[in-house]
Amino acid sequence: MNDFSCPTALSEMQTWFASIITSPYQETDDADLPVYKTNLIKEIQKRILPSPYLKSEERLGIYHQQYWWRLLSVMQELYPSLVRLFDYERFNILIAEPYLLDYPPNDWFLSNIGSESPEWLKKNYREKDAFLVLGLAQLDLAYERIIFADRLPKIEPDDFHRYETEIVYLQPYVMLFEFGVDFFSLRAQLLRHPSSHWKTHPLPKIKAINKKKFFVLFRKDEQDYYEQISESRYALLQRFQKGAKLIDLIPLIEDCDEVVKWFQTISSREWLSFFRGKEPISL
């Protein structure tokens, strides 16, 4: 055997071990450890030694329990508004567990385990409130991701002459949203109380509107803020997200004076950079 190749028995054991701990379980014993069927217990007993205090299957059960507890608790932290909408138990059953079975973690960063949830919800969650669940999921994920957004070099007053010739980009910590409902307000209301509150109180009312609403979520001084913006400003920011020269945006500008003031505002908030970051965060 080459030292660097994985021993077959090790690879086989790990595949077996993983197949058990990643399976969902329903039945638990007094110690909250999974209860297994007789055939599986016999298999486990062949591989895992008992301790003076625990049976083989209980010892494996600790890892099984911890796998699910850890991942479900991270999912709950990533999706706080969905936890309030559903409560912890229903969130686990309806979303977190089936999602984790379809998208088992494959990233070294634990916070990334829920990254595919909006995509999963689009395909798999077909209840009447699907649009609400998806909107809140997208926002929860956005609030998590924006924490890790880079800060590109800001535009200094001395750099203003560069606007004439250079491409301007939106900072990664500025994210754009287009919703038929004000999900930002709804999320803020939901987060005001713990999940237990919403079990006994009516959920905040939301009003669907015919017209789309446009929002920007951004960070300043390591805090999150959001604002509703007009469609035309949203369109301008979208262009900056891809990268645009100011001169190319003139045809998009309707009220020049207003836009100049707004441009001063976003400049002072350091939303723009001459540097291109990674691809905009997609949800």
Partner: protein, 275 residues
């Protein structure tokens, strides 16, 4: 290879809950240990770390290397790890003697390895490659064991020693994990630590745990138990006075109380000198 490293004194694990207190009072902590992965994605966590790096020594401790896994080494992860190591100027870097990955899957846990010679060879070879790549002393931490295998050929201490000696790397010795494993498997903790090549220890971890009666979990959410302090006293006196760190990861207490808990180590160190 195993190298002498500086004794940084007594530190605590840097956790986001501490930032407000640290940035307000800049407490006189000797050093901080970070969970490497928490700072490898950039953004606010990294900006906070940069402020810490201006004032304190920082040591990196990882949880996602999964060195004993049947999956190939994750070079994308290792490159990011090294980039952070360069930024932090960590004097050494550690992770766990465990597995936790398969091709296409990560389990986000520190899973136990069969204690077999062919596994020693496999892990030691990977540890050598990792240390060569990182270009700083690399240490593996002993696990808190909740399971061992029918195929085991040796006790945990022999397995741990064999890996670090064959790879010629260092030990990040968690004395709480020694206690947890000894209770879970039913042996005297002295059987464990008295058989380790303690000259390879470059850092000691202290932590509390949760006792469920028939088993213990290494939860880092309680004060350090007296039995664990006793192991610390025994082990520390046989090392070359290495850096000591308290981990506290859940059921957080105030920053001041966390630091006070860590400082108990100083008292044990004084007793050793007196003895």
């Amino acid at each position: 290879m195993h190298k002498e490293v500086p004794n940084l004194g007594i530190g605590i694990g840097l956790r986001p809950i501490h930032f407000r207190e640290i940035f307000t009072t800049w407490p006189p902590i000797d050093w901080f240990e970070i969970i490497s992965e928490n700072f490898m994605s950039g953004g606010m966590p990294l900006r906070n770390l940069e402020k810490i790096l201006d004032r304190y020594p920082v040591v990196m401790h990882g949880v996602s290397l999964a060195i004993g896994s049947a999956a190939p080494l994750d070079w994308d992860y290792l490159k990011k790890l090294k980039a952070l190591a360069v930024k932090t100027k960590t004097p050494w870097l550690s992770d766990h003697l465990c597995w936790g990955r398969l091709p296409g899957a990560r389990f986000h846990d520190l899973l136990p390895l069969p204690r077999q010679m062919e596994v020693v060879n496999y892990v030691a070879e990977r540890a050598r490659i990792i240390q060569d790549f990182l270009e700083i002393p690399f240490a593996l931490e002993n696990l808190s064991s909740n399971a061992n295998f029918a195929t085991d050929e040796m006790p945990e201490w022999e397995f741990y020693s064999a890996v670090v000696e064959k790879a010629d790397i260092s030990m990040m010795l968690d004395v709480n994990n020694i206690y947890v494993s000894s209770r879970n498997e039913g042996y005297d903790p002295k059987d464990y630590y008295s058989r380790l090549p303690l000259e390879r220890v470059l850092q000691i971890h202290l932590a509390g745990h949760s006792d469920y009666g028939r088993y213990i979990l290494d939860t880092h959410d309680h004060p350090v138990r007296n039995e664990v302090w006793e192991i610390y006293r025994e082990v520390y006196s046989k090392t070359k006075e290495v850096s000591t760190l308290l981990e506290w990861d859940d059921r957080f207490i105030s920053f001041e109380d966390t630091w006070a808990e860590a400082l108990k180590a100083k008292e044990y160190q004084r007793q050793i000198i007196y003895e």
